[in-house]
Amino acid sequence: MRAATRHRSKPNGRAGTTQAQRPSGRRPTAEKRLVAGAVAAALVIYIAYESIQIGDRSLLVLLNGLTAAGLYFLLASGFTLVFGLVRVTNLAHGGIYLIGGYISLTAQRTTGNWLVSATAGAVFAAALSIALYAVLRRLRGDGLRETMFTLGAAIVIADQVLARWGGVPSDLDPPSLFNGSVGLPGSDLLYPKFRLAVVGLAVVVGLSLWAVMHRTRFGTTIRASVDDRDMVSILGIRVELVFAAAFAIAGGLAGIAGAAGGTYLSLAQGEDNRVLLASLIVVIAGGLGSIGGAAAAAVIVGLVEAFAQTHHPILSVLMTFGTLVAILALRPHGLFGRRTDARS
């Protein structure tokens, strides 16, 4: 199975995550297009239906969905990158989000600058993520132990956060540039500038990731490692370093997400589990290992959640999972997922 995957890779290394953006290089193109079209059509119909019901508030809800999608993408892109490379379901991802946010909070209370604080949170989260990888690599190949370790790390991180910052929820102040709200056309409601900035941040991160993955040697190495780790290491590339870098990127993104989420939402006990669940849903719906899939799934989940909450709040959780079930029923490996190798 693995060999088959390899053979279908294009010679220029445009495999792996590339497939997300460029489905044309793969065999089941027609099916993929059909599914993508069906999902998109269903989403558009649902949103249109809800919009008619909500009326003038629909722009607001649309923006809400995109904001949530932005945060989900920041979380899920790193998660899926790590999974694609190392095949580890990092259950400590939510914990890294939370501790990154709290580090940013402390930094902001010291420096008062949001950007500096978010960077501090991201750097800390990246370092923590590398530390996790340093332990994980000793457990290589034993999926059960790897997952157990990340689960244990998640619990330790949550308790450390509780001990260090206490259980009282708190939040970061938005940077002065994005403080306050703007009026929405056609509605008496305002929209917080920072939420728009989160959408922008997610787009910038997404484009940067794409650029790194497709326009740099480092990205090529990562994509090659996703496809065939052994071959890459035979070529003389230190795969361990590539993996560590991927963990660092994932951790850094989670740290930035923590700072962003801690600003427009808040930081509190239990948030780690909530965002872990959200990113799991997004990653599974998008296809494990696919960054493009994570982006698409983040938008779908974010929009469905926002519109469902507006109209049937009690069913909103059900709607989110229902979307996941529907996607998996159509495409068992997620929107842009590939059949993963069952490694023994």
Partner: protein
């Protein structure tokens, strides 16, 4: 590829996983999180284990009262108080506050703090010569974890009195559990579901504070008569305690002729309220919101960002409790609410309590949680004192004495009604400079908010749709 050794390792891991999941499932109450369990608790559980062995009756239902086995002929040789609050999860901070209250009461009875951490117990307390032991357990605000933690305290630690729990649905679950154990007494902490005492009460469940409806007493009337609101919307968490708050506000508001445009129910623990805020009709006079802890902070912040508070907010009691006021900051200024604790009550008992709290736990100020857990624990200790620390009759005399408790707490006088539910003062209040200032004291609020008891009870429990309000 897999060697037998690795396979064995795999099997071992599978067993370990199962064990860990099991521990995570039933030990979420903190044993796992706290490797250095308090010596007091360990000692207590050993004692309890011996007792159980001797009796050979581990089932709680069939178990003869542990107090009887403890009582060697005359009286009781020790009394175990089990305190439960939310030490994990979204309400973890509130759990800390509650335990402060429990410990303060025990310190008044000769106890010494074992340490400053939440799970550090109190040793050396005694009532009428009978030593009091404190066992602390935590839940994560879910009813099943609360019941498991309480079951552990009763069955393994031999707890005679349970103080707690913190949240509404936990209380209802514990009532059903404790009802089957007549020798154990539940003195409620801050669980504020009406039906803990109002409907189908249990003989061994006591509440020395208000419920969600009582805490919201007077707000609906004030909004209609003083603020001139005629049409409101409500936003509240989707479980029993907020039902009671919304129900109480609407009962008063609608009886006067007001109407409700929209009742929006949000899942507990919602982070992003933007889509719910979008549903608030733009033509209402005010928005009543009933939430706790993190939810209140997120909601007020986002409501402020999305609307600039163009439609005024009216708050539920815990949404603007002193425990979250500092985090709400300037956004909470001017919010009207009703509730049991104000910062300017002018009661000598309140000032003394505030000073005492600050001296033992520096920097802490009175809030619903530390005050209520203090009042609950102290009421139990006072009743124990009256019966000479003797609960060897299956706690009957103790429970009778507890039902008769009548004293001036830090937040005003308390007495219990026939359902063992407190009749207490409430305060209509406004947030000014980060503190709760009294607008009006509402004396002796009872469980039926002054309405005729039979008529009130017959209306049924408050729910998403009840009261119908026109």
């Amino acid at each position: 590829m897999r060697t037998p050794k690795r396979r064995a390792l795999g099997r071992l891991l599978a067993v370990l996983t199962a064990a860990t999941l099991f521990a995570a499932g039933c030990g979420d109450n903190g044993d796992s999180a706290d490797p250095a369990e308090e010596p007091a608790a360990t000692a207590a559980s050993q004692d309890a284990a011996e007792t159980t062995e001797a009796d050979e009756a581990p089932e709680p239902d069939s178990e003869p009262e542990p107090t009887e086995t403890d009582a060697e002929g005359s009286g009781t040789d020790r009394i175990v108080i089990g305190a439960i609050s939310t030490l994990d999860g979204p309400f973890a901070a509130l759990g800390d506050f509650s335990m402060h209250g429990v410990k303060l009461a025990l310190l008044e009875y000769g106890g010494t703090l074992e340490g400053t951490a939440t799970r550090d117990g109190v040793t050396g307390a005694s009532v009428a010569g009978v030593p009091i032991e404190l066992v602390i357990e935590g839940s994560d605000a879910t009813p099943d974890v609360a019941v498991e933690a309480t079951r552990k305290m009763v069955e393994q630690d031999g707890a005679n009195i349970i103080v707690g729990p913190l949240s509404g649905d936990e209380g209802l679950a514990l009532k059903d559990y404790i009802r089957e154990l007549p020798h154990v007494t539940l003195v409620n902490g801050t669980s504020a579901s009406q039906d803990l005492t109002l409907r189908d009460p249990a003989a061994n469940v006591f509440r020395f504070g208000g419920d969600g409806a009582m805490w919201t007493f007077g707000v609906g009337t004030y909004a209609y008569e003083e603020l001139g609101h005629r049409r409101i919307a409500t936003v509240a968490e989707d479980y029993s305690y907020p039902y009671d708050q919304v129900g109480a506000v609407l009962t008063e508001f609608c009886a006067l002729g007001g109407s409700v445009a929209e009742r929006i129910w949000v899942p507990l623990g919602t982070q992003d309220y933007s889509s719910f805020i979008a549903q608030i009709p733009s033509d209402v006079d005010a928005v009543f919101f009933a939430m706790g802890g993190t939810d209140a902070i997120n909601f007020v912040k986002q409501y402020d960002e999305f609307t600039g508070q163009s439609i005024p907010l009216i708050a539920g009691p815990t949404a603007v409790d002193q425990s979250v006021l500092s985090e709400l900051g300037s956004r909470a200024e001017g919010l009207i609410s009703s509730g049991p604790v104000v910062d300017d009550a002018g009661l000598a008992e309140f000032d003394a309590f505030a000073e005492y709290l600050d001296s033992v736990f520096p920097g802490q100020t009175p809030n619903i949680f530390n005050v209520y857990y203090y009042v609950a624990t102290k009421s139990a200790l006072q009743a124990l004192e009256e019966v000479g620390g003797d609960i060897s009759d299956g706690s009957l005399a103790f429970q009778a004495a507890l039902a008769q408790q009548s004293w001036v707490t830090p937040i005003g006088p308390v007495t219990l009604d026939d359902n063992r539910q407190a009749v207490v003062d409430m305060y209509l209040r406004r947030v000014e400079s980060g503190a709760q200032r009294t607008i009006e004291t509402l004396p002796k609020v009872n469980a039926t908010l002054g309405f005729d008891r039979d008529e009130y009870v017959v209306q049924g429990s408050f729910s998403r749709e009840n009261p119908s309000c026109g």
